[in-house]
Symmetry: C2
C-alpha cells in the first residue's frame, strides 16, 4: 500500500522530495521568504548529526566557540576574493533601533573574516599554535529559490577554522577533516561519497584549494555535501595574523576551514528514501525502534514496557506509540517517519511468545521469540540494515557512474540518465565551460585515480586530470 500523500519518486523526483519532507514533518515553509522551519523530526536528525560530528571533532582536538552573527563591511572587505564571492548574496543590517548605522553590517554568510580578525588579536607566538576552533551556527545567503535543506536563505551548519604554524600541519588538517566527513557519510549516513579536489573554478573564494565530499542522489544528480579548504597564508596576510616563530622571526600563519550543513539532511533523504516516506540508516535515526502495542490488554502493555526497558538498557533508542490511533495508522506513521524497526506487540503473537518485527528499508516482516534474545535480534537487524542501506546506495551509485572519452559520449549519457561521469580534462577553464553546456554538467572534483585516457574529453589536447563530472543541486 502506497502512501497517498507522497508522489512516486520515479514519476516526479522534485515533487516526491518535498512530499517526503512535509509528510515526515522534517520541515515546513515559513512566512519569511526563503527561510524554512526545521520541524521536530528534521531538527532531531540535525541534533543526531551534530552529536556524532561534534564527538569526532573533539576527539581530534577541536574546541567549540561562538563568534558574532554580524560582520562590519570593512572587515569583510579585507580579503578581496572572499568579498567578491559573497557580497552579492549577503543580507545587510543598516539600522539598529531607531538609528541609521554609520557602517552597515552583513549577516555572516561564513566566518573566515571574523575568525581571522580574532586570530589576529590572540596569536602572538608559535606557543599559541595551533588553534583548532569550530562553531555551530546559522548562516545566511540571499538565495533566489528555496528547497528545504538544499537551498534556503538561512541554514544551519558547522564551520571549523584552524590556524597553524606550518604549511604541512595546515594541509594535514585539511585532509584529516575531509577524511572525517567521508567516514561520517559512510559509517553513519550510509552514503558512499566520492572525495577529491575542486577545480580552480569551483573552489571556495579565497582558498588555495578546496577538498570536497560529493554524493550522488537516487536520481543521478550530484550533491556537494561537505568541504574542507586550505588557505595557505592568504588570510594571514590580509588580516595580519603573524607570530614569533621558533627562530624568533615574525611569520605568517597557515589556515584551514571546513564545513557541513543541514544540506546533509537533503542528501540523506534523496539517497535512501522511497515512495512510502523517509528511510533512515539506524545509526543516524533519532528513534531506532518504535514499539506498537496492539490493543490494551495488560499482557500487551507489560510486554511493551519490558521490551522498551530491555532495548533502552542496551542503548537502543525507542519510542512507544500508545496513542489512541488505529494500529494501521501507527504503522503508516512509523513508516513515513523512517523509523528503522517497528515492533508490533499483539495479544495473539504474545500467546505464542512471539512479536513481529518489520524493517523499514525492505519492509520485511518476521516473527521472533519474545525472550531475552530479542535484544540481540534487534541489534543484529539494525546493523544489517545499516550495512544493506550502504550496499544498496553503493550499487545505485555504481550503476549511475560512467566513463566518457568524447563530448558526444558525455552528451549521450547525460541525456539518457544523469549520473557521475569520469572523464579526462586538460585543466583549461574553456573546456570546463564547454562541458557546462551539456545540461549544466560541472566538474565535481579531481580524482586521485589512474588516468583513463591521455586526451581531454573536450578539446582532445593532452589531459592533466581525471575528473568526476555531474549535474549539481
Amino acid at each position: 500500500m502506497k502512501n497517498e500523500k507522497i508522489t512516486s519518486r520515479d514519476v516526479d523526483f522534485g515533487k516526491w522530495y518535498t512530499d517526503v519532507v512535509k509528510a515526515a514533518h522534517l520541515a515546513d515553509y515559513s512566512s519569511v521568504k526563503g527561510c524554512i522551519i526545521f520541524e521536530p523530526n528534521g531538527y532531531a536528525l540535525w541534533e543526531k548529526m551534530q552529536q556524532v560530528l561534534d564527538k569526532m571533532f573533539k576527539e581530534t582536538g577541536h574546541c567549540n566557540v561562538y563568534l558574532p552573527l554580524l560582520i562590519p563591511e570593512t572587515l569583510l572587505a579585507k580579503e578581496s576574493e572572499l568579498v567578491a564571492g559573497f557580497a552579492p548574496e549577503v543580507a545587510w543590517v543598516t539600522k539598529g533601533g531607531d538609528k541609521e548605522l554609520e557602517e552597515r553590517l552583513c549577516i555572516r554568510p561564513t566566518s573566515e573574516t571574523l575568525f581571522s580578525d580574532y586570530y589576529h588579536t590572540v596569536v602572538k607566538s608559535y606557543r599559541d599554535l595551533p588553534l583548532k576552533y569550530n562553531q555551530w551556527c546559522s548562516v545566511l545567503r540571499w538565495e533566489k529559490e528555496t528547497r528545504p535543506f538544499l537551498r534556503s536563505r538561512e541554514f544551519l551548519w558547522q564551520e571549523g577554522h584552524t590556524v597553524h604554524e606550518t604549511r604541512e600541519e595546515a594541509e594535514a588538517e585539511t585532509k584529516q577533516m575531509l577524511a572525517i566527513y567521508e567516514r561520517f557519510f559512510k559509517e553513519y549516513l550510509a552514503i558512499p561519497a566520492i572525495t577529491g579536489r575542486k577545480t580552480e573554478k569551483e573552489k571556495f573564494a579565497g582558498a588555495e584549494y578546496t577538498l570536497t565530499v560529493e554524493a550522488l542522489m537516487y536520481n543521478g544528480i550530484a550533491l556537494q555535501s561537505a568541504t574542507s579548504h586550505y588557505f595557505g597564508d592568504k588570510f594571514a596576510r590580509a588580516y595580519d595574523i603573524s607570530f614569533k616563530d621558533r627562530n624568533n622571526q615574525q611569520a605568517y600563519c597557515y589556515q584551514t576551514s571546513w564545513g557541513s550543513s543541514t544540506r546533509m539532511i537533503g542528501g540523506l533523504i534523496m539517497v535512501h528514501s522511497d515512495d512510502n516516506g523517509l528511510v533512515l540508516p539506524p545509526k543516524i535515526a533519532p528513534t531506532q525502534v518504535v514499539l506498537i502495542p496492539i490493543g490494551d490488554s495488560e499482557a500487551v502493555i507489560d510486554a511493551t514496557h519490558e521490551i522498551a526497558d530491555m532495548l533502552q538498557k542496551n542503548d537502543i533508542s525507542i519510542k512507544i506509540d500508545d496513542s489512541n490511533k488505529s494500529p494501521g495508522f501507527k504503522f503508516a506513521e512509523a513508516e513515513v517517519n523512517g523509523i528503522p524497526l517497528r515492533i508490533e506487540i499483539g495479544p495473539r503473537d504474545l500467546d505464542n511468545h512471539k512479536v513481529t518485527v518489520v524493517r523499514r528499508d525492505t519492509r520485511e516482516k518476521a516473527s521472533y521469540d519474545y525472550d531475552e534474545k530479542l535484544v540481540t535480534v534487534v541489534r543484529d537487524l539494525l546493523e544489517k540494515m545499516q550495512q544493506d542501506m550502504y550496499e544498496k546506495a553503493l550499487a545505485r551509485r555504481n550503476s549511475l557512474t560512467f566513463e566518457a572519452h568524447t563530448l558526444e559520449e558525455v552528451e549521450t549519457i547525460m541525456n539518457k540518465h544523469p549520473g557521475f561521469i569520469k572523464a579526462m580534462w586538460c585543466g583549461d577553464l574553456a573546456c570546463e565551460m564547454k562541458m557546462k553546456e551539456i545540461r549544466g554538467t560541472k566538474s565535481r572534483c579531481i580524482l586521485e585515480e589512474k588516468a583513463i585516457d591521455d586526451h581531454c574529453v573536450v578539446c582532445g589536447k593532452k589531459a592533466k586530470h581525471l575528473v568526476m563530472w555531474g549535474i549539481q543541486y
Copy 2:
C-alpha cells in the same frame, strides 16, 4: 599567592568580573561593536548548561525546532505590546544582496511572533495539542553597553514556546518550567535563587504574567536569571491560532514561553568566583578534575594515565596537563580556569603510594592513598564541594537579605550595602517608581510568603503584596 591578572573582588567588583572573564578565557570583546566572542572555556560552560537543560526539557515532553532568524515587520507588528516593547532595540535588515527590500526584516529579539505564525498554520484540532517546542539560538537586541554574558547585542539562549488546549494546562506549563529552572540553579549551578511573579511594570511585553528566577550576586546586586511567561490567549487572538475543540467549536489556544540565556554564565561567575579566578560547581564544570604529572618519570606518567582511566570509567570528566609548562604555572592555570579538583602526581608522593588533591573552592590540599579507592575519594570530594558551594552562596544571600518597613529603612540598607529587601507594597506603579529613586531599586518579584506588615513600605496605605526588591544588572 594571588593571581596578578585579577583585580580584587572587594576592591572593584566590576573590574574583577571582567578580569576573571578574560583570565579564564571565557569571552573576549570582538571588532563587532556590542558583540562578544565566546571563547572555548566560556562556550564549553554553555554546552554543559545546554546538555543538562535540554535533557530536562525533553524529559518533560518538549521537542527542539529551529525557526528563522529574520522577522518581517508586518508579522512583528501584529501583537502591539510586544512590538512596543522590542521595536526600539532591534536590528533591521533593509538590503538583500544588491537590492533594497520591499519590506524590512528584523533580526529576532525573541520569537513569539514566528512561533505564533507557525502555530497558526499547523494547529487545527484539539488533537494537535499541546505542541511543546523549544529552540536553541542567538538573539539580538540593540543594547548600548556591553558586559560579557550580562549584556551584549547578541547572546545565546533557549526559548520554549508552547500552545495548549486549556488555560489550566498552559498555566501548569508556566509553573513547571519555572520549577525546572529553579532546580537547575540549585542542583547544578549551586545558586539559591528566589522565584515569584513579576509586577505589571516588570513583566514581559505581551504576557499575562511572568514568573522569574532571581539570583543575588556576591556584591548584592540582583540578576534576573530565567523567566517563564503565561500569555493566556492574547497571541492566539492576535495571530489567529484557533482549533476545533472537543465540542466541535472553534476556540483560541493558550500559550506560554520561557527562556534562559548565556547570562547564566555571568551569574555563575558573580556568585562563586574569587580573586584567583573562576570557581565552578563540579556538576556544571566541563572538566571536573585536572591531573598534573610532576616530572616525566615512567612511574608518574603511568600513574597519571591509570588514574585518568579510573576516573573516566566512572564518568568523571578529566584533563591531563602534560604540557611543557612548570608545575606552578599549571596549578595557577587550573585555578584560574575553575577546575574543581586538581590532582598532583609527583614522584616522592608516589613512593609513598600517595597523590595530592586540591579543592578549588577552599584551596584545601590533602594527601590520599593511590589505590582503587581514589575514585570514591574524588567522587565524594566533588559532591561535598557542590554542596558546600551551595551552602556558602545561600549563607551569603541570607546575610544580604533584609526586611524593611519604611522608605528610610530601604534607603539605609541600600546605602550601606545593596542586597535583597523584603517589603510590602500596595500594588501602585507610583510606589514602585518611588522605590526606584533609591539607587535604582526595583521589584524583583512578588513572593508567596506571609506578609511582614499591613502597610505599603512607600505610601503607607494598605499593602497587597510582599515583594522582593533589589538593584539589578
